[in-house]
C-alpha cells in the first residue's frame, strides 16, 4: 500500500453492531470479529472487510450509508463507541482511521437515534426530515435573466466569512445524534444564519425562519437546551453562535412578519 506505515501492525477487533431487518422490526446488538485490519484503513473500509467476510459466509452484509468517503457529502453517519462519528473531533466517519483504535478493542457501532430519523436497516437511517426542513425555506429564490456581474452586490469580508462557515454544514445529522434531546437546532440554525447574513437571503428572511422552525417541529425533533454537544460533535465545526442567531431571527420574524397564521 503506497504511503502506508510499514511498522503498523494489523489489528484484530470485536465489533458490536446494531442489526435491524427493517423499519418495523426490533433490532439488537450482534458481535462480530474482524481480523488483520490495517491501521491505515478508514472506518468504512474496516466495515467493508466485515461485509466481505459476511458475504463469504453467506450472511447478510451490514447496511450503512456512505457516498463520497471524503468527508464532504454527509452520508456516512455512525455512532461509534458512544460518540457521533467516533472519538475524533471534527471528522466524519469516513475520515476516521483505524489507527485511532488499538488491537483487541471492542467497538460499539450504532445508527443515529431520533424519532425523526427512522432506521431503514441496520446502521442506515432515513434523514429525509432534513430535506423537508430545507424545502420549507432553506433556499434563495432567484429570478431568471441575464447573468449578474460578479461582485455586483458588495458583501463585507467578515460577513461572507461567517456566512461561509455556516454554509459548511454537510447535513450529516451528528448534531441530532449527539443531542440529548435529538434537536435539529444546529442544522436549522446553520442554514438560517448563513442566508440571514447574506443580502441574497434577505427577501425570504422572515418566512424562511418561520417555516423552517415549523417544519422542524412537525418532524418531531426535540427542543434545544443549549447543552452544546451538537457543536462539540459537529464534523465541520458549526458553532453554537448560529443557534443564538436562529433564536434572534425567529423572535424578530415572529414579532414583525405579516404572517398572522
Amino acid at each position: 500500500m503506497a504511503g502506508s506505515n510499514p511498522n503498523a501492525k494489523p489489528m484484530n477487533l470485536t465489533l458490536k453492531v446494531w442489526r435491524q431487518k427493517n423499519r418495523i422490526t426490533d433490532g439488537g446488538i450482534v458481535d462480530y470479529q474482524v481480523k488483520d485490519i490495517s491501521p491505515d484503513m478508514s472506518f468504512l473500509e474496516m466495515l467493508d472487510v466485515l461485509n466481505e467476510d459476511l458475504l463469504r459466509k453467506g450472511d447478510e452484509p451490514v447496511a450503512f450509508d456512505h457516498d463520497c468517503r471524503e468527508g464532504i457529502c454527509g452520508s456516512c453517519n455512525l455512532f461509534i463507541n458512544g460518540r457521533a462519528h467516533g472519538p475524533e473531533q471534527g471528522t466524519t466517519t469516513c475520515q476516521l482511521h483505524m489507527r485511532k483504535f488499538s488491537d483487541g478493542d471492542t467497538i460499539v457501532i450504532e445508527p443515529w437515534r431520533a424519532t425523526a430519523f427512522p432506521i431503514n436497516k441496520d446502521l442506515s437511517v432515513d434523514r429525509s426530515a432534513f430535506d423537508r426542513i430545507i424545502q420549507a425555506g432553506g433556499y434563495v429564490s432567484v429570478n431568471t435573466g441575464g447573468t449578474p456581474d460578479a461582485n455586483e452586490i458588495p458583501i463585507p469580508k467578515d460577513v461572507s466569512d461567517r456566512a461561509f462557515e455556516a454554509a459548511t454544514c454537510i447535513g450529516c445529522g451528528a448534531c441530532v445524534a449527539a443531542c440529548k434531546n435529538a434537536s435539529a437546532m444546529l442544522f436549522v440554525s446553520a442554514k438560517v444564519s448563513q442566508l440571514a447574513l447574506l443580502p441574497q437571503g434577505h427577501v425570504e428572511r422572515k418566512t424562511r425562519v418561520e417555516n423552517m422552525v415549523a417544519q422542524m417541529d412537525i418532524e418531531g425533533f426535540g427542543a434545544c437546551t443549549n447543552i452544546g454537544s451538537c457543536a462539540a460533535e459537529c464534523p465541520v465545526g458549526i458553532s453554537l453562535e448560529n443557534i443564538a442567531i436562529l433564536n434572534q431571527e425567529f423572535i424578530s420574524a415572529k414579532a414583525t412578519s405579516n404572517n398572522l397564521a
Partner: protein, 255 residues
Amino acid sequence: MSWISKTLSSSIGRKIIMATTGLFLCSFLLVHLLINLQLLRHDGGASFNFWAEFMGTNPVIRFMEIVLMLGFAVHIYQGLALAVKNKQARGSQGYVSNHSEQNSQWSSRNMALLGTLLLIFLIVHLMNFWIRSRFDAFGGLAEVRVPNLDHPVGDLYSVAAASFKIPWYVALYALAQIALGYHLWHGFRSGFQTLGLSHRKYTPAIYYTGYVFSVGMAVLFAIIPIIMFFSAEYQPRPATAQPVEQSLTEEPALR
C-alpha cells in the same frame, strides 16, 4: 391571536418561556439572598423580621409575589413538559453506548433532574416558612416589636433559628443549594443564548457572570443555615404571650 399561541408553542417559543421565567427567577433569588443574609446580623433577628414584614405587606411586593408564583408555575410546567417531549424525540430505543460526558457538561444534561430536586426542596421550604408566615391556620408567627415600626410584626426569625437547629433540616438546605448551583451554572448563560443574546464581545462576560452567580448563590444560601446551626448566637425566642421589644443593637429576649 393565533400567531402568538403558535409562537409560544413552537420549540423555540417554549424555550423562550423557559429563559425569561428562569432569568426572572434569578432576580428573585438575589432579593431572597439579600434578606436571608440579615439572619446573620447579631440583632436577634430584628432586621430580618423587619424585611420579612416589608415583603409580606408592601403592595408592590405582594403583587410581584403573584407574578413570581406564576413564573415558578410556568417554569416548572414548561420544564417538565419539554423534558418529556425531548425524551420522546430520542425514541423508545436509546443508545446502547453513549459517552455524552465527552461532549457536554453534566449540569447541562441534567437540568430536568436538578429542577425536580429543587421542586421537592421548594415544597418543603414553602411549607415551613411561607405558608406559616402568610396563614395563621398553619402555625402562624409569634409577635415581636422591631425598631422603626409602630406595630408588632411576625417573628419569622425564630422559625428560621429553630429550623436550623435540626440537623437533617440543615443538611437538606445545604444539599439543595448544590442542586441550585448546578442548575444555575447551566441555566444562567443558557437563558441568554435562548434569547439570542450571543455576541463574541459580551458572551464571555455572561458566562463568567453566570458562574460567579451560581457559585455565589449556592455557597451563600448554604452557609446561612450551617452558621446558624453551629453558632450559639442564633436562638429562637421562647414563646410568650406579649410582643417582645427588639432593637437593632441588643437582643433583650435572651438577656
